[in-house]
Symmetry: C2
Subunit: 473 residues, 2 copies
């Protein structure tokens, strides 16, 4: 289905239909993505204030066969928010739909509009003595609609699940302007097909999420954080098992960090205080949130003693204060920034079955060593089998020198991941960056069904054209 | 789309294609449902041994336009497993696909075929020192494929979620015989649309689930159970909040029970030992599973003391042994049997937003009181906002005397539920019993999308015809 450019006449008809300040000038931020990989084009930015206005925009775009790029906080890392070519689309920004419509503390539920900023949801939950556990680096600018559209992950997935698991219901505008009212506050409702999960993670290609019913959690009575030096990734896995045997769901985060991460921090962000004098090859950050009657620092001490006795850990440090907890987390959270300053040749957001993480790390390292001289920074959410596996130039060399190897590196890593039954995109999504990977690695029947669903929901192909699935034109 | 009868020639062609013992005689159990509401018809029972055989059956049925009724343990309560009229279908029983293909204790994952009996999954998980938390009364005969197809609930949803939340990936045979390979062991995988959740809860109308990757949990270090007398449903809700503030995710089950339940047990199952001399109007069963370092009985004592001080509970008893825990649970679990022996006029499996449970109970009671003389047994999974709200004849009267009121009672309850934003089927599904309710109470756009999905996945309408959505013929 061929799309039309969004003409000045079309934009004018939108202006007349919306009767308000919904039409915005196109600003550079609407056409960029954080890594600067490409630049988009658009005839206008439309920022509706109500669900009905979103419906009007989609209905008119559908009739005119004009592409629509849904836009949240613009923090996505796979180009899902930027259309670089094809017929000129409009950008539909949710930035004016930021209301938290309701908080129900005794139900552990919050109803928020898609444009609400993640950090504001945290604040609102905290004000009700509750926790909204979705925690990602971009929380200060990411909007919940985008988090839902991409099924965002983050550091608390081990305990609380991905964004999908934090959503009870959605309000969605379909490409033809119909509104699906599914803002359920129900924990159990078996009355027909689960539509919500089809929209979550579909990256704006099936409709526009305008509001969501979100799950809150009780705040843990006490929290604690430790860093423990492990002898290997497989030792880290055993430690995770031990931690869960001790504390069950109380383990909120379990992050694996490699020496390279500390080296990059020392080199590029010397103001960050590092926890070890001598850098260990592998260590983990364990974060726990426990019920009343348990002292988190003591529970971590007990875990450490057990693990030390079993030879799983050789040293460690347990935060004795909130300041120290924050400092430990700072080490983990600043690694991506250090990476950015060093400059990766190729970055990978992969997952493999948990038990195969050590094999992946070993085999990927061997394969890359046979291809050239690299530094590898492998770190991430071990508890979820999700690693950020980033390949950098050898010390003293620049990534330009490796330009012709970039694709081979990426293919090598992703082939190995596929071989192990893993995913080439654990938490970032497909966007426009990984469309070819999806075609290459996706189950063929899954791809057929996805194309069928796209054609059913969006027969004119106006929704985020070229994201997730290749455009037909 | 009109379906054809499964003719002797068609059955014969299946027999030739399958080369094995897949063809079974039609037994009465395949045409019945537990409450005896109706009887099905079928030309044959096919029990394949492999996914490929399931694919062959569906491909041939699709070509011949013969209806297929997927059959698990036959324990569903809404007639999803029994087709009473229309063109004669075949029953596709998963009873020979019972393998547990793999258990990965360190990944907390189990891969099981659809015909595996729920109880056997519990046993296999326990053998690996893990927990498969789906717990329903029919666990001895229900099969996991049916649990997935109906998104079964049960008593542990508060802590572990519905069956949907316990599934990481599926293998599904589509109506045309294609096989979707999605048996993922990944906790994070954002590579395209979420198809799994479309099949879960679709009650066999979009395809046949043949295997699943299931989430296991660490076993809690210690478990405990208490019964506490509350002054009202709203007091019970406050107690739930307090319990979660004390123990977070440690609260595994929180069941509300009314005096009527105890009265029915005393009347019909006098061998069950009842916990209170004088029956309280309302009490709750609280089950907890806690991490190391916490004594569950002590934690429940502390909770009780706090709740007593706040006036939320007036009395209670905390299990001091496993035997006593089992005895407490026996009270809860035998209530449905006592109900069956008393004989309900109308039974309802409803949910409402948690905070509206007290309002629902009050208003439903008032409405029914104005309609006649009934006994109401209201009990269930308060933590999920899910109540079994069952209406019985007044003492000394029979349900025959109320036959003409049955429909009005059901409509009254379901209208009120809808008014409160609730669900007319919290955990049992739609099946054939509640198709009219779905049409009456479902969001119109949701229904349109469901019909569109059904037509896309199953254009000939062979899959479980008349379940969830009305047949077209």
């Amino acid at each position: 289905m061929k799309l039309n450019d969004a003409t000045p006449e079309f934009i004018d008809s939108l202006r007349k239909a919306l009767f308000d300040k919904a039409l915005r000038p196109v600003e550079p931020r609407h056409l960029e993505e954080p890594r600067g990989a490409w630049t988009g084009h658009a005839a206008a930015v439309i920022a509706p204030e109500t669900t009905e206005q979103v419906a009007t925009v989609l209905r008119m775009a559908n009739e005119a066969r004009v592409g629509v790029i849904p836009y949240g906080g613009g923090t996505g890392l796979v180009g899902g928010q930027v259309m670089p070519d094809g017929a000129v689309p409009i950008v539909l920004s949710l930035e004016r739909m930021t209301k938290i419509r309701d908080v129900f503390p005794n139900e552990n539920i919050m109803i928020a509009e898609a444009g609400a900023i993640l950090q504001d949801l945290h604040t609102a939950a905290e004000a009700a003595d509750r926790l909204f556990p979705l925690a990602i680096a971009a929380k200060g600018s990411a909007r919940i609609g985008g988090n839902l559209a991409t099924n965002a992950g983050g550091v608390n997935v081990l305990r609380y699940g991905n964004t999908r698991e934090l959503c009870l219901g959605l309000e969605v505008v379909l490409p033809d302007g119909r509104i699906l009212n599914n803002l359920s506050r129900l924990r159990k409702d078996n009355t027909g097909y689960d539509l919500k999960d089809l929209f979550i993670g579909s990256e704006g290609t099936l409709g526009v999420i305008t509001a969501a019913a979100l799950k809150l959690s009780p705040r843990p009575a006490g929290e604690g954080t430790a860093l423990m030096i492990v002898n290997s990734p497989s030792g880290a896995l055993e430690l995770l098992g031990l931690a869960r045997a001790h504390m069950g769901e109380g383990v909120s985060a379990f992050e694996l960090i490699h020496r390279t991460g500390l080296e990059f921090l020392a080199e590029k962000l010397p103001e960050i205080r590092l926890p070890f004098q001598e850098f260990p090859e592998w260590f983990v950050l364990i974060d726990v949130g426990l019920a009343r009657g348990l002292n988190p620092a003591e529970a971590l001490e007990t875990l450490f003693a057990d693990a030390f006795e079993s030879g799983l850990v050789s040293d460690g440090v347990i935060a004795q204060s909130e300041t120290q907890r924050t400092a430990f987390w700072e080490v983990r959270e600043q690694i991506p920034e250090a990476n950015r300053l060093v400059g990766a040749i190729s970055s990978h957001d992969i997952s493999v079955p948990l038990g195969l993480v050590p094999e992946f790390i070993a085999r990927a390292g061997e394969k890359l060593a046979s291809m050239g001289d690299f530094r590898i920074n492998c770190f991430g959410h071990l508890g979820d089998g999700n690693l950020h596996y980033n390949v950098f130039p050898a010390k003293g060399r620049t990534r330009k020198e490796y330009a012709d190897q970039k694709l081979t590196i990426s293919d090598t890593v992703h082939d190995l991941v596929a071989d192990l039954g893993g995913s080439f995109s654990a938490e970032h999504g497909v966007g426009r960056l990984k469309v070819a990977e999806l075609e290459r690695y996706g189950d063929p029947v899954k791809l057929q069904l996805m194309r069928m669903l796209k054609a059913s929901f969006d027969p004119n192909g106006i929704m985020n054209p070229g994201a997730v699935l290749r455009r037909n034109d």
